[in-house]
C-alpha cells in the first residue's frame, strides 16, 4: 500500500522533524522576543502574534490532515490511517485550545476584552467542539470498526467549518484583524514576517513530530492490549487443558 510506504518513509526522518522543530522554534523565539522591533500601534504586545498565529495555523492544518485521513479511511478502511486520525484529533484539540487561550490573552490588551462572540472566534471554537466530539465518540463506542467509521464521518462533516473560519473575517464585520497573507500579498514588514515564519515552520514540524510519536503510542497501546488478550486466552486454554 502506498500510504504504508509513505508513513514508513516519513517515520524514518522522525528525529529530523523533532530537531528541525526545536531549531526553528528556538530561532523564532529569539528573533521574536529579542531581535524584532515593536509594532507602531500595538507596541510590545504584538510579540504574542509569534506564538498565537503559528498555533492557529497548525490547528487548521491538523484538521485538514484529519479530514483527508478520514476520507482515505472510509475509502480504503486502512487501520493505520485510522490510528493516525485518532492521534491527529487529540493534537488538533490541544493546538486549537492553546491558540484560543493565547488569542484571548492577546485580545485583552488590544480589544480590551478576553472574549467576544466574533465570527472568527465563534467558528474557531466550533472546530474545537467538533474535535472534542470526535474524541468522545472514539471513547464511547465499543466496536472498533463502528467507532472508526462514525468518527471519520463526523470529521468529514466538520470540514464545512474550515472555509467559514478562513473567510469569516471577510464575510462578516469582525473585531478580528483581516488576513495578513492573501492573494493580494503580505501586509506586514519583513522584520515581523521573519520570526512569524520561523515559528510557523517550527510549529508545523513540531506537530508532525508529535503526530508520529502519538501514532506510535496508540499503535503500541493497542499492541500491548492485544498481547495481554492473547496471554489471557493462552492462560485460559492451559487451564482448560489441565
Amino acid at each position: 500500500m502506498i500510504i504504508h510506504r509513505v508513513i514508513r518513509k516519513v517515520q524514518r526522518f522522525q528525529g529530523w522533524f523533532g530537531g528541525g522543530a526545536a531549531l526553528f522554534i528556538i530561532a523564532g523565539l529569539y528573533i521574536g522576543l529579542v531581535d524584532s522591533p515593536p509594532d507602531y500601534y500595538q507596541g510590545e504586545v504584538v510579540r504574542i502574534m509569534y506564538v498565537h498565529v503559528p498555533l492557529a495555523h497548525t490547528s487548521l492544518f491538523a484538521y485538514i490532515v484529519l479530514s483527508v485521513g478520514s476520507i482515505w479511511y472510509l475509502w480504503k478502511r486502512d487501520p493505520i490511517v485510522d490510528n493516525m486520525c485518532h492521534a491527529v484529533a487529540a493534537l488538533g484539540a490541544i493546538f486549537t485550545t492553546l491558540a484560543l487561550a493565547t488569542g484571548m490573552i492577546w485580545g485583552k490588551p488590544t480589544w480590551n476584552t478576553w472574549w467576544t462572540w466574533d465570527a472568527r472566534l465563534t467558528s474557531y471554537s466550533v472546530m474545537l467542539l467538533i474535535l472534542i466530539s470526535y474524541l468522545m465518540l472514539r471513547t464511547f463506542i465499543d466496536d472498533h470498526e463502528k467507532e472508526a467509521r462514525y468518527a471519520a464521518v463526523l470529521a468529514i462533516l466538520g470540514l464545512v467549518d474550515l472555509p467559514i473560519i478562513h473567510f469569516s473575517v471577510e464575510w462578516w464585520r469582525t473585531l478580528h484583524q483581516p488576513q495578513s497573507f492573501s492573494m493580494r500579498g503580505v501586509s506586514m514588514s519583513s522584520e515581523i514576517l521573519t520570526p512569524l515564519l520561523c515559528m510557523s515552520v517550527g510549529m508545523s514540524l513540531l506537530f508532525s513530530y508529535m503526530l508520529m510519536v502519538r501514532t506510535q503510542l496508540l499503535y503500541l497501546d493497542r499492541l500491548l492490549h492485544a498481547k495481554k488478550g492473547r496471554l489471557l486466552s493462552q492462560f485460559h486454554m492451559s487451564q482448560s487443558d489441565s
Binding site: 526545536a22 528556538i26 523565539l29 529569539y30 522576543l33 529579542v34 515593536p38 500595538q42 507596541g43 510590545e44 504586545v45 510579540r47 504574542i48 506564538v51 498565537h52 498555533l55 490541544i94 492553546l98 487561550a101 493565547t102 490573552i105 492577546w106 485583552k108 490588551p109 513540531l206 513530530y209 508529535m210 510519536v213 502519538r214 506510535q216 503510542l217 503500541l220 497501546d221 499492541l223 500491548l224 498481547k227 495481554k228 492473547r230 496471554l231 493462552q234
Partner: protein, 161 residues
C-alpha cells in the same frame, strides 16, 4: 529512556538560556525607571522614564513635536523637554514612557521619543501558556512510548518480526 531524559535536559538548558537572553533584553532596552529612581541614580546613559504628565504643565508646540511639561511618578516630578517626532499620545494626565537622557546640571530630562506603555504580563503569559503545555504533552507521550516498548519486550509472548 536515558537518551530521552538527556535530550529533554538539553532542551531545558536551551530554554533557560533563551529566557535569560530575553530577560537581559528587557532589562537593557525595555525596563523603565520612575522620576524618583532617576533622580536617585542620576544615570548618564539613555533611559526610559515612566510617569504621568502633570495637569496644567504642558506647554509649547505639542503637535510639532516640541513641548515642555512636568512628569510625575512616585511623588516626584521632573521637568521634561520633548523634542522628537510629532506625538500621538502626549497630553495632560496621560501616563507614558519617555525615551531620552537626564541632564543633572539643569534638572531637565531631554526626551527624544515616546514609547507605548505595555503590560508585559500578557506577553509572558501567552508564551508560557502556548508552549509549556505542548512541551509537557510531548514529553509525557515520548516517555510513555519508551515505557510501552519496554513493557512489550518484557511480556512473555514477544516474538521479533
Amino acid at each position: 529512556m536515558t537518551s530521552l531524559y538527556l535530550r529533554w535536559g538539553g532542551l531545558l538548558i536551551v530554554a533557560v538560556g533563551l529566557s535569560m537572553l530575553t530577560y537581559n533584553h528587557y532589562q537593557q532596552h525595555l525596563s523603565t525607571v520612575s522620576p524618583h529612581q532617576m533622580k536617585e541614580q542620576a544615570p548618564r546613559q539613555e533611559i526610559r522614564l515612566f510617569g504621568m504628565v502633570r495637569g496644567g504643565t504642558l506647554e509649547g508646540k505639542v503637535k510639532a513635536g516640541d513641548a515642555t511639561f512636568e512628569l510625575m511618578g512616585n511623588d516626584t516630578s521632573v521637568t521634561v523637554h520633548y523634542q522628537g517626532p510629532p506625538p500621538d499620545n502626549l497630553r495632560e494626565l496621560k501616563t507614558l514612557i519617555l525615551i531620552g537622557k537626564w541632564n543633572p546640571s539643569d534638572n531637565i530630562f531631554e526626551a527624544r521619543d515616546i514609547g507605548l506603555v505595555t503590560n508585559y504580563g500578557f506577553v509572558i503569559g501567552a508564551y508560557l501558556i502556548g508552549l509549556i503545555p505542548l512541551a509537557i504533552f510531548l514529553f509525557a507521550m515520548s516517555r510513555r512510548v519508551g515505557l510501552l516498548y519496554e513493557e512489550i519486550k518484557e511480556s512473555k509472548l514477544y516474538q521479533e518480526e
